[in-house]
Symmetry: C2
Subunit: 272 residues, 2 copies
């Protein structure tokens, strides 16, 4: 199994938001190599139909599998919500891990009142994957969903705080978090949203637990690799980045999510 | 030439913003039939590279040409700014009309001070098509460009006025329109932006002429058809709509730009 263990972990997202998941994966698995693919030519997935997103996700997964990976992490919430079963069948025996189940498990564990709010893109909300997953894990939980599409545009523009961002956050979230039956747990169901966590925290208040899927997905990936005996004992943690469009924009906007600068010259342009 | 004259006019956009152009075309040419194609599966074009946009535009143009059109109007600013020459070669002898030249001509005619501001998507700004076109029409004009990507997200969300929209408009435009050398003409270089014209007007003031490409493009199309003897004398003005993704979202968001309700059942789903 040495040969397989040495392969990189594939990480796929519609764009650069998944770099928050990559960041958490690198922290949890510092010896592993990673191959990241952002489908920037066709983003955003969040406003597209389930059939289209599933088709795009399959093409991206096949492109990563063709380059040799030992595990696929679908960092995109929209793709995770519609494509995981089909991807798992196509890529078998390569394990496929999405962000929905780990995020839902963390939210189910965090809530005390049983009232959980999920914020995500239109596509993820419409698909209903989080409520389904939460219903299985916490059958008595009351789940409120709210699509917050402008959060994506704000994060991509690099506007992550300030009066405009706070006003947008207030408009989306104040109706959800007012009243006696307000949720005590907020699940960030889109990889772009952690970039706005400071204004989100101010609007929802200190009493709400904010759960983001990145860390729980990284933990789930580490557990899965250990279970399969595929963890790498030692390595330098190399990262290769690929995008389906404009390495310059990927590098610029990606740096917001990655937590460290990305050089456009490090990003390989690929066609799916 | 009766056969050709009876064909519809093809209108292509990355999504639903081009419906503002379709609306102006229908007003200018009430006897003509129209075939509208929105490439909603791959929108937005505004953040994508020139090569990718040119490839998508070619596929869309070929899909329309294959269905039989007498003229192609490229309603998307980003596609117009990078793809018109290649489209004209491929579709010849079908005439191809973009929104850049008509918009630039109207702005060049409107300005008294010679100072023109162009607001558009990142892709259109980066491509520089408006400054190039304005340099040819008004060589002494001073052109300022400003990318306003959040305007697209706001319009698609249906947030077309109010304190948040006004704050975003102020953040983008106040620096451009302050000082003694402020432009006297503002060219809306994106089909989404007419939806936000009320707050834009408040921020730039009454003294600024706001030019939108939709009406000037419709006039240019009418003139081109007349020149080629392709105008239709009588007709009911039928419109067929096609989209590459989700007819429901096309109908819902499209109604913001179309000025009249669109039923999802009227929108045909096509694959490019």
């Amino acid at each position: 199994m040495t040969g397989i263990s040495a392969l990189p972990i594939g990480v796929f997202d519609s764009g650069v938001g998944g770099l928050t998941v990559l960041r958490a994966l690198r922290a949890a698995l510092p010896s592993e190599d990673f191959l990241y693919l952002g489908d920037t030519a066709r983003l955003p997935y969040g406003t597209k139909s389930a059939a289209t997103v599933a088709r795009y996700a399959m093409q991206a997964a096949e492109a990563l599998a063709a380059r040799g990976i030992k595990c696929l992490v679908v960092a995109c919430n929209t793709a995770s919500s519609v494509a995981i079963p089909a991807l798992a069948v196509r890529l078998a025996p390569i394990p496929v891990i999405g962000v929905i189940e780990p995020g839902a498990a963390a939210a189910a564990q965090a809530t005390r009142s049983g009232r959980i709010a999920v914020i995500a893109t239109e596509g993820t909300v419409r698909g209903g994957a989080y409520p389904r997953s939460l219903a299985a894990l916490a059958p008595h939980a009351v789940v409120t969903q709210k699509a917050c599409p402008l959060f994506v545009a704000l994060a991509e523009e690099g506007w992550t705080d300030g009066p405009i961002v706070e006003a947008v956050v207030r408009r989306y979230l104040e109706p959800v978090f007012s009243g006696d039956a307000a949720p005590d747990t907020l699940l960030l169901g889109c990889t772009h949203f952690p970039a706005l966590v400071a204004p989100i925290r101010r609007i929802v208040g200190q009493g709400v637990t904010i759960v983001d899927s990145a860390e729980t997905t990284a933990a789930a990936t580490a557990a899965q690799l250990a279970r399969l005996g595929l963890q790498r004992a030692a390595g330098i943690g190399a990262v290769r980045m690929m995008a389906t469009d404009g390495p310059e924009r990927f590098a610029r906007v990606g740096s917001v999510f990655s937590g460290e600068p990305i050089a456009a010259s490090e990003v390989e342009l690929v066609d799916l």
